[in-house]
Assembly symmetry: C2
Homo-oligomer: 316 residues x 2
């Protein structure tokens, strides 16, 4: 029998299960849509089917897995009794671990989704070989994670690595969390959408982006941003370059807390525009990093793409 | 033979050695002035004498200590080969550990001084009983530390917990480190001195402080600040209250990274004005903390005073 492990990425729109072998290679994977507005029990049923489908493709009997790792949104630690703030599942204060264990019939380790993505990058991807890794994932929001000697820092309430809510500007831009000046208000799709609207709708600047997204800034896709950027669109370049600079500044702030030896940047836009955005991230970082020997911290782009979160779940 | 331990606080002006018993109670202590501009070897000789004096008062033979903890400024981890950035000792890139071990004739564990102070508070002082503790010490600069399950986070280069260089305002006040917008530029004696000079010298505001410090803002003593504050001096209250608010904002930023269950605030001014400043720290914190259940993080004032750093050294 192979020593396989299984992890599930439970997202707001899809459930993604992967099975890896003892070398962490993906040997089976399966996807299902997340049932909309469902209870934990109903969701667990779909997760179980998806996990079994992935196991079948991997040629591993489901009963052979000793336990299951589940990456999900919200404030979670490996042993959380209750999960708070899993808003895109509509869950707040639910006993997810106990419910999953009941349905799966085996121990479940929970992890925050972005934390798990960073864990996978740290151990299997762009952070491989480093001792202390922090990761920033720029998507709709801005998430992150801290990995110390291969182990995730979850914090006391499952809220470690919430880099989107590090304050980079006292009295700065309004963040969707209700506070002002959060990194997420500058370096995320939500933050950039506000800036695009200001420039295009209020100040009348012209941008290719308007056409690419059909004027709907609430659906700012990474692909559209990358396309407009690559086409040399002035407004898109300005907004993305500034967001990248702010991200670098935020990374320098977090580095003053954690002192990592490697920092991984991920998320659709960054992966698509890699080197171009990295020069602005690097500029914001270098101009704000407190360090005696700054060249000791390596900045890299994530490597695992969409598999990262589920892979991280296999490592819990 | 008692199971005693010894720690040395090697500061820019004094060397302070403490001996504790197995219950962490101080049973002997001794002080010497730090030899000015001395080499590591010459300093080690004075440290050894001081340590022996503390041991004698404690009734413990120096040869009975298995090892010695040394807390010092700069970028240091327990096993640093070279210590960088110990500027107030005039050392940069020195083999402190090897030199100390040669003179002491036993293993030496090194730690950053402020980190050690936070470690002691976390295990023996205001952080006792908590799982994840961060500490902010406001003195000439602003230092900090992270303690996870009783263990110090040193980071990859001995620079973890440098909370003074978390950026709280993009393009903000100039910091002595060369960057802009660092927390230290707002919440430290150096940062406050700049603000006092602006208000008193440039804008002509009147303050009791001018008299207390004889007009020399480079020597802003905590005692003078506390005295002026308690006397109701408007300028002093305004500057200190704002610094405390900024400190709370910075603590919220760091909490988004670490997710602690307790935060300890220390340093002369904060210890002297405790409750008064804590209300402003709390305001800055509450207005910026990303949390699902904010009441889960406790804010406290340090308890160990001047002994903290040396006590932390005994715990390395």
């Amino acid at each position: 029998m192979k020593k396989a492990r299984i992890g599930i990425d439970l997202g707001g729109t899809k459930i993604y299960a992967v099975v890896v072998d003892e070398t962490d290679k993906v040997i089976g994977k399966a996807k299902s849509p997340t049932p909309s507005g469902a209870t934990v029990a109903d969701t667990a049923v779909v997760m179980l089917e998806t996990a079994k489908a992935a196991a079948k493709l991997a040629g591993v009997r489901f009963s052979a897995f000793k336990n299951i790792g589940v990456a999900m949104p919200g404030a979670v630690t490996e042993n959380s009794d209750l999960v708070f703030g899993a808003h895109n599942l509509g869950w707040n204060g639910v006993p997810a671990k106990a419910e999953f264990e009941k349905w799966f019939g085996k121990p479940v380790a929970l992890g925050n989704d972005v934390n798990c993505g960073v864990l996978a990058e740290a151990r299997l991807g762009a952070g491989k070989g480093a001792e202390t890794v922090i990761g920033f994932f720029m998507g709709t929001g801005l998430g992150g994670g801290v990995v110390l000697n291969g182990k995730l820092l979850t914090g006391s309430h499952g809220l470690a690595g919430e880099f989107g809510h590090v304050i980079i500007r006292k009295n700065g831009r309004q963040c969707s969390c209700g506070h002002k000046g959060c990194l997420e208000a500058y370096a995320s799709k939500v933050g950039m959408a506000a800036k695009f609207q200001e420039l295009i709708n209020n100040r009348g600047e012209k941008s290719l982006l308007t056409e690419y997204i059909a004027g709907d800034f609430s659906k700012l896709k990474s692909s559209a941003l990358a396309k407009a950027y690559k086409a040399g669109d002035k407004v898109t370049m300005e907004v993305l370059d500034k967001a990248a600079y702010s991200l670098g500044l935020g990374a320098a702030s977090v580095a003053a807390v954690i002192d990592p030896d490697r920092i991984v940047f991920g998320g659709g836009v960054i992966e698509a525009l890699g080197k171009k955005l990295m020069s602005f991230i690097r500029k914001g970082f270098d101009e704000h990093l407190f360090a005696l020997r700054p060249e000791q911290i390596e900045l890299t782009v994530s490597e695992l793409g969409d598999d990262a979160v589920a892979l991280g779940a296999t490592l819990l």
